[in-house]
Amino acid sequence: MSEDDERATDLSGGGIVSSNRTRCCGGSVASDCPSQFPDQVLENVLENVLLFLTSRRERNTVSLVCKSWYRLEKQTRSELFIGNCYAVSPRRAIERFQKILSLVLKGKPRFADFNLVPLNWGAHFTPWVTAMAEAYPWLEKVYLKRMSVTDEDLALLAQSFPGFKELVLVCCDGFGTSGLALVASKCRQLRVLDLIDDDVMDDEVDWISCFPETGTCLESLIFDCVECPVNFDALEQLVARSSSLRKLRLNRHVSIGQLHRLMVQAPQLTHLGTGSFSSAGDPAQGDQELDLISDFAASKSLICLSGFRDILLDYLPAIHPVCANLTSLNFSYASINAEQLKPVICHCHKLQTFWVLDSVCDEGLQAVAATCKDLRELRVFPMNPSEDSDSPVSEVGLLAISEGCRQLRSILYFCQQMTNAAVVAMSKNCPDLVVFRLCIMGRHLPDHLTGQPMDEGFGAIVMNCNKLTRLAVSGLLTDKAFSYIGKYGKLVRTLSVAFAGDGDMGLRYVLEGCPKLQKLEIRDSPFGDSALFSGLHHYYKMRFLWMSSCQLSRSGCKEIAQRMPRLVVEVIRDRVEEEMDDAVEKLYMYPSLEGPRDDAPKFVTIL
């Protein structure tokens, strides 16, 4: 779940500001009448209206109007969104909001996904689940992203919330199949168990067998990231007794033969992750011809297809019956080339989301551009994620996509080489872009045709795409690129920078120019202390700032910490001897109502 589709201002931002407001409105309606009646009516009306208000941004705004609105809003809020688990403590959140049914909690900075944050840094779910076990007995939904979750946490969750319905864990770690078994067996009302890109330990527990035996409420079961085999017979029976199941994403240990058996049980699926899509490891399969095409033909509701972890190309044509209905197709684990993609993609007229590997080459992307006129989101991942490999996709593919898919909102594109011209063309052809993430894998690579820095390309993106909220830059970039971002990127909330810029001015342009900036992550760029000081006016409005391998000094960061008392300034060390340095290798700072956290490991120093 990306926030790029929603609007910003999470709890911490709202919380810090609203606690200072004491403005109060009195009986603004019928001022002639001195009795309490109009106030009571007003409150009832508001309370009922607020029940319909779900957007957290709007709720935060409501809570700022006056004390009575603040009170009513907090009594009626049912979804708690915490964008940074350290911005506010469980106790404080529980004191303000007493009737929470749904929690969204995010932990580690995104660069943790790329091994830049040492293990055991933090973001523990334990204090949250412990506090909520007492405070929110009616909790129904928990969504965690980049949190450390233990089996004990899952055990506590499973036993504390009798009405628990949805558990979604994204990029989490610290738990294993034993924790899953507890959730499966004790959460009798469970509708959703979605495990996405988690690191799940193999405790050799048959968790699939732990679901209630007399039918389940399951609507969504996603476990494609679980790397250990599951008991297939138990899975087949589970699917058979889960009549509400609509979303099923299997892991790579499910063979194509097993997929067939499951599809027969569940023709009502809307979302399917096919597992391995090969017969490897399945002795029963042998040379049998699978009638997979009938299974797909029978899946009339299928709109989202993924998986294909070890794809057996012979069976790829089996998916043709569903292509015309697909709105989302994820081939990002399937090494297929352009010729193999074309017969599939030519049917996918309704496709809105497409994830693919660069093995399809520019030619494959041209085929996508020719058919998928309603494409909103494209992600092209590298088969060989290194800097020296050949370049199967390039500016040619990007240009083709921009010309064919004018409705594009979001793109993530990995390539070895790029040109400014193609990026400029995309900025003009796809003006509705909200997310533009281009990763030229060779560091500091210029436009490979002109030899120029990539400044003009990214400049055009921020200039022409007026709705842009998320940007990731790459390639050779001078401070000019950042001046463009600062000048035109007025809605940019998330910015990722790596190996870019000439000096402090680059960062200053951004900090001084982008009023909506919430999440800034920078690595290996020559920004120093004075650049950091130029953002003092803005840091309290941000979710976080990450800077690693830049040119920051401990003394500079310490001064920031002293000047900004509600900012937590963490210096993260990789090695013990770095403690003697004045240079700061990794800086992570964020506003918080709580001050320095008490669970910081030894390699983190809070200034």
């Binding site: 660069f111 091994n115 830049l116 994620p385 060779g442 560091r443 030899g451 050779l476 500079g556 240079a583």
Partner: protein, 186 residues
């Protein structure tokens, strides 16, 4: 402030070349500001590219941590069988106290401790000191240490070469009062 450096259309080796030397002895493109007394420059780990024009055996750049930004879960899906040590050699970082840059060496290149020592002495322009049978290395300003798999700092030379190769994670050439009299065990 516009940069006047022209950019070549290829790898721009000049900009990423690492050299060891005293500050001021060579031009740097990016100076660390004087207020930062760092003895380590924050650059990603890069092997120095061989300067020969010979393109028969291109040197592969070492992979930088976390780059390209792909989640390890996704990376592992395609390279589950690749064992890095076999494919690319055993590269370890070498730091020397007081030097602004670290270096990287491939331990596989050396047959034993004497070669390693010689290579390091050449690379960093130092000597490990006089050796006498009675007192070991004396009057040495330097000590050669390494970090092993357990995270402990050990003196180089105590264990057999093969064991050292498999357990050495990084090297550190200590200097100054800490190092005096320690030398190394080779």
């Amino acid at each position: 402030m516009e940069s006047t450096v022209t950019y070549e259309s290829d790898l721009n080796l000049k900009a990423t070349e690492l050299r060891l030397g005293l500050p001021g002895t060579d031009e740097y493109e990016k100076q660390t500001p004087p207020s930062v007394r760092s003895n380590k420059r924050s650059l990603p780990d890069i092997i120095e590219e061989s300067d020969t024009g010979d393109r028969e055996a291109p040197v592969t750049k070492a992979q930088v941590v976390g780059w390209p930004p792909i989640r390890s879960y996704r990376k592992n899906s395609f390279q589950p069988k690749k064992i890095e040590a076999e494919a690319t050699g055993i590269y370890v970082k070498v730091s020397m106290d007081g030097a602004p840059y670290l270096r990287k060496i491939d331990l596989k290149v050396y047959k034993g401790y004497p070669e390693l020592l010689k290579a390091l002495e050449n690379m960093f322009k130092f000597t490990i000191g006089e050796y006498s049978d009675r007192e070991g290395y004396t009057r040495s300003e330097y000590a050669l240490t390494y970090e092993d798999k357990d995270g402990d700092w050990m003196m180089v030379g105590d264990v057999p070469w093969d064991m050292f190769m498999s357990s050495c994670k990084r090297l550190r050439i200590m200097k100054g009062s800490e190092a005096r009299g320690l030398g190394c065990a080779v």
